[in-house]
């Protein structure tokens, strides 16, 4: 439908999609700084690689789908998807892993479903899960916090590592990686150790979660709060995710603190905060009503805990997001607000 006559309202708030997307990127800056500080330059290279790939794939798909390329390329959505996915990948992941994941996210998860606004699943998480299932080895090779390795990883080293799999000094990737705190805990618990034993046994664990991870998560939290303040997102999904995760973790921790990690550990060590503020809040794939969003978030928190605790993967948040994406339309259908002048049903 094209409208020739400009209909009321005659004016508009000074906002647009690009501004919205850019704000999401701004909100990630503090986390990025912390990331680089604790884990080296790899993340920056990954993001650049991801953004270039995303924009290329986006342009290609827009061309093929005969959509206005410039208009959609500048909306910023592809850049956001690329950045979020890159931040979810191991910082020293080989270049092809990033390229493949991003290409899959943009081409399959986004454009094959109809492009911006029409994708039922979060593209970044689709890309992530595809990689996780297909390349488990590469996906779990997380770089260790710099403070825990002897080698001083320079910017060029990171580039070299990402593109060739080794650095000049002949050091292999293995020497620089370490299991993530969640991974480590899971392995320790399988060995019949208690939570307390596990946490004290390994330097990867910090005060609240993992070394470095704690700070990255706090900066992500700060960015997320800023997004709420700027009204880019609402509080409903983050509170749903973190609240439910905290509560369910607290319940099991209360029952048996030897075999279940504390709620604070659950929130601070994995990708819970990142997902709560930046992934699950993707409006396209989340419900739109306030109550619906809380329920959606709560579903993610609970599913993530279940997968983390009893599932095969140490971190379940990506699966949880995709699973809840599936029920988002149903949630929207059942949790509609009462309209003005209508009685409560």
């Amino acid at each position: 439908m094209e409208f020739k006559i400009k209909s009321s309202p005659q004016t508009h708030l000074d906002n647009n999609l690009t501004q919205l997307m850019m704000r999401i990127l701004y909100a990630l800056i503090p986390a990025l700084v912390a990331y680089v500080w604790f884990f080296g330059w790899g993340i920056v290279i990954n993001i650049l690689l991801a953004v270039v790939t995303a924009l290329s794939c986006e342009a290609l798909m827009l061309k093929l789908r005969q959509r206005p390329v410039k208009l959609f390329l500048t909306d910023g959505s592809a850049v956001v998807t690329a950045t979020l996915l890159a931040m979810a990948l191991p910082p020293l992941a080989p270049w092809w892993l990033t390229v493949l994941g991003v290409a899959f996210a943009i081409i399959v998860a986004k454009h094959l479903y109809g492009g911006l606004g029409f994708n039922p699943f979060n593209p970044a998480m689709v890309g992530y899960v595809m990689l996780l299932i297909s390349f488990p080895l590469e996906m779990t090779g997380w770089s260790a916090p710099l403070s825990l390795v002897d080698y001083k990883l320079a910017f060029m080293d990171s580039i070299s590592m990402i593109f060739t799999g080794q650095i000049a000094s002949g050091l292999q990737l293995d020497a620089l990686t370490m299991a993530t705190p969640l991974d480590m805990l899971k392995a320790e618990l399988r060995l019949e150790h208690t939570v307390a034993e596990s946490l004290s046994s390994h330097p990867v664990f910090g005060l609240m979660g993992g070394v470095g991870w704690e700070w990255v998560n706090l900066t992500i939290l700060a960015g997320g709060v800023w997004l709420i303040y700027k009204k880019v997102i609402t509080w409903h999904v983050p509170v749903g995710v973190l609240g439910s995760l905290f509560i369910i973790a607290a319940v099991f921790y209360g029952i048996d603190s030897e075999h279940y990690a504390s709620p604070l550990f659950h929130i601070m060590s994995g990708a819970a905060i990142f997902a709560a503020f930046f992934i699950a809040t993707d409006p396209v794939t989340a419900p739109t009503t306030a109550l619906g969003r809380v329920i959606f978030g709560a579903g993610i928190g609970i599913l993530a805990y279940i997968i983390r605790t009893w599932g095969g993967y140490p971190e379940g948040i990506a699966f949880a997001v995709l699973l809840m994406n599936m029920v988002a339309p149903t949630i929207d259908h059942y949790y509609q607000p009462r309209v003005f002048g209508h009685r409560k049903k």
Binding site: M1, F3, I5, K6, S7, S8, P9, Q10, T11, H12, L13, D14, N15, N16, L17, Q19, L20, L71, F72, D75, S77, G115, L116, G117, F118, K231, T234, P283, V284, A286, T288, T289, D332, Q336, P337, R338, V339, F340, G341, H342
Partner: protein, 590 residues
């Protein structure tokens, strides 16, 4: 007086109000134009009908078109002069359409008709008072243009608890009500007293947005011992919307399928109250109003007191003319106003603002992007709708689904479109859907009527057939009876015997028939076959009459009659037919 606790409504948007452009400028009388173009339709309801002819001289305030039907309003000459045409002329309408206008060439004298105010409205009959207001052509001046007298007639079933005077003026740029409240508070208060008397309202509240402290003070200063509250309401668009203001003032929600009246509330604009005062106390009909001429597109933005029918371009000239920066000419405010495509349209009763907007005043159109379901629209919606969902259905033309999620509760305030980061013209989609649904309903109505007509015709045909059959049966029966009588009269042993046998057979048959038909009726057995037949005939006749009546009823009430009624009538006709047939058969037997 206890301070009123205000409620708030869902959503709404804070808008840059831009009222300072005109709020500080005194109101000026607009010049008398050479020609006045007075549309016959300046209100909600039926168009007025001209009562003057081309060539007639008219005086200012003379009724030149009378109200046509209940929901309608008369039109008065806004200055003296001569009617030179009654023809189509561009009118202020979003479609840019033309409509019938009475064109008056003014004589420059601006001579009034004889006016006299009511001596004492407090002793006036309520219906007389309403008629005064009606004949003065007063309609809601806030923008809707609903004939005001109708709202003053709640009927015996409703007690008016609160009369609310809407002085919120929540649209940006517009200051005409503000100026009226500041310059003529006495007229407003006087009008309010009349309205209060007409409605027997227990409480009266004047609501003013808190960005108009001068208007608030001015009204307060005018009040002495009157039991009238003046309330400052928070500036939040659309607080001036009828339902929103009622919610803020009283905390009550107008039912979605009802009127403010249903919850004991009547709401009128402050300018309407002033007009009521002039009509009742001075005998002055509605011929002019304050109009805000504003925006960066005019050199000297200000409020003008404008005679209805004055072309917009003349007003722009009187405000220093338009400049190159003007990109759009809008009638009404930026949120609910519409763009004018011709500058010669006249000011009408509902015109509150002429906005000569630059791109700085009103943001230029941006390309529409896909909906990302961010929900900003739902957050902004003052009636808690889900605009993104409505949009989805409107786009895919699933209008029934849109209706299911309460499309018709949309007040078209524009908040959703205003905040949409994808710049989707949501309100336009909703208007489009509403008109599509209305069109479909009209079609459906037509189809229903056609079906009812067809079914009524079928019933008529069936009835006629039954009637014919009954007539034939009665004729045959009469013949047979005659024959039987003549046979008996002619005598003869063989004949007697024959007659006896026949009678016996008839009796037996009658017995059988009576048993079959009436079941328990004992006298049927005793009766002769002839009377049996007669009864059957009578029954058939009664049924016919019933069917006839039904058909007439159906024809009268058209499609409203349900199919079941139709079916019942058909069934009755069928029973009548069957009975007549039976009677016929019996007679054949005789």
């Amino acid at each position: 007086m206890i301070n009123r606790i205000l409620s708030r409504f869902h959503g709404g948007v804070h808008l840059p109000d831009r009222k300072s452009l005109t709020a500080g400028q005194p109101v000026r009388k607009a010049h008398l134009p050479d020609r006045l173009y007075l549309p016959l339709h300046q209100h909600i309801g039926a168009s007025a009908e001209p009562v003057v002819a081309v060539g007639d001289s008219v005086l200012k305030g003379q009724m030149i078109a009378h109200a046509c039907g209940y929901v309608s309003a008369p039109v008065h000459a806004s200055s003296s002069g001569k009617v030179i045409a009654i023809e189509d002329h561009a009118i202020p309408h979003p479609s840019g359409a033309s409509a019938s206008c009475i064109v008056i060439e003014t004589d420059g004298e601006d001579r009034w008709i004889e006016r006299s105010g009511a001596e004492d409205y407090l002793n006036m009959d309520h219906s007389h008072l309403r008629n005064l207001i009606r004949n003065a052509g007063i309609v809601g001046l806030g923008g809707a243009g609903f004939p005001s007298f109708i709202k003053l007639n709640p009927g015996p079933d409703y007690q008016i608890d609160t009369l609310i005077l809407n002085g919120a003026e929540c649209e940006p740029f517009i200051t005409c009500d503000d100026l009226l409240m500041r310059t003529h508070p006495e007229e407003i208060i006087s009008g309010i007293k009349i309205l209060r008397y007409a409605l027997k309202a227990k409480h009266v509240v004047i609501a003013v947005e808190d960005n108009k402290p001068e208007a608030y003070q001015s009204l307060k200063g005018q009040l002495h011992n009157e039991d009238i509250e003046v309330v400052q309401v928070p500036t939040l668009y659309p607080v001036g919307g009828e339902k929103q203001l009622i919610q803020v003032i009283t905390g009550k929600e107008v039912p979605h399928d009802g009127l403010p009246l249903n919850i004991g509330i009547v709401i009128q604009n402050v300018s309407t109250a002033a007009a009521v005062h002039r009509a009742v106390n001075e005998g002055t009909p509605l011929v002019s109003r304050y109009v805000t001429v504003t925006g960066g597109g005019v050199t000297q933005p200000r409020n003008l007191e404008v005679l209805f029918g004055t072309p917009v371009n003349e007003l722009l000239e009187q405000c220093g003319g338009t400049n190159m920066a003007m990109s759009r000419l809008v009638m009404g405010g930026p949120m609910m106003g519409f763009e004018l495509h011709q500058h010669n349209v006249p000011v009408i009763k509902t015109t509150n603002c002429i906005l000569a907007a630059t791109d700085h005043d009103l943001s230029p159109e941006q390309p529409m992007m896909p909906c990302i379901r961010c929900g900003s629209c739902a957050d902004a919606c003052p009636v808690s709708l889900l605009p993104q969902q409505l949009y989805w259905f409107a786009r895919s033309k699933e209008f029934d689904k849109a209706q299911n999620i309460n499309l018709f509760d949309c007040i078209e305030c524009g908040c959703c479109s205003y905040v949409c980061p994808s710049h989707i013209p949501l309100v336009h989609y909703f208007r489009f859907s509403k008109t599509e649904i209305a069109a479909k309903e009209r079609e459906q109505e037509k189809a229903d009527q056609a079906r009812a007509r067809h079914e009524a015709r079928q019933a008529r045909l069936d009835r006629e057939k039954a009637e014919r059959a009954a007539r034939l049966a009665s004729k045959k029966a009469a013949l047979a009876a005659k024959k039987a009588r003549s046979d008996r009269a002619s005598g003869g042993v063989s004949d007697d015997k024959k007659a006896a046998i026949k009678a016996a057979i008839e009796r037996a048959k009658a017995k059988k028939a009576a048993k079959k038909q009436a079941g328990t009726e004992p006298e049927a057995e005793k009766n002769r076959a002839v009377s049996e037949r007669k009864r059957a005939e009578m029954k058939a006749a009664i049924e016919q009459a019933k069917v006839k009546k039904m058909a007439r009823k159906q024809a009268e009430s058209g499609h409203e009659r349900g199919v079941s009624e139709q079916k019942k009538a058909e069934m009755r006709a069928a029973i009548a037919r069957a009975k007549a047939k039976k009677a016929e058969k019996k007679n054949d037997g005789i």
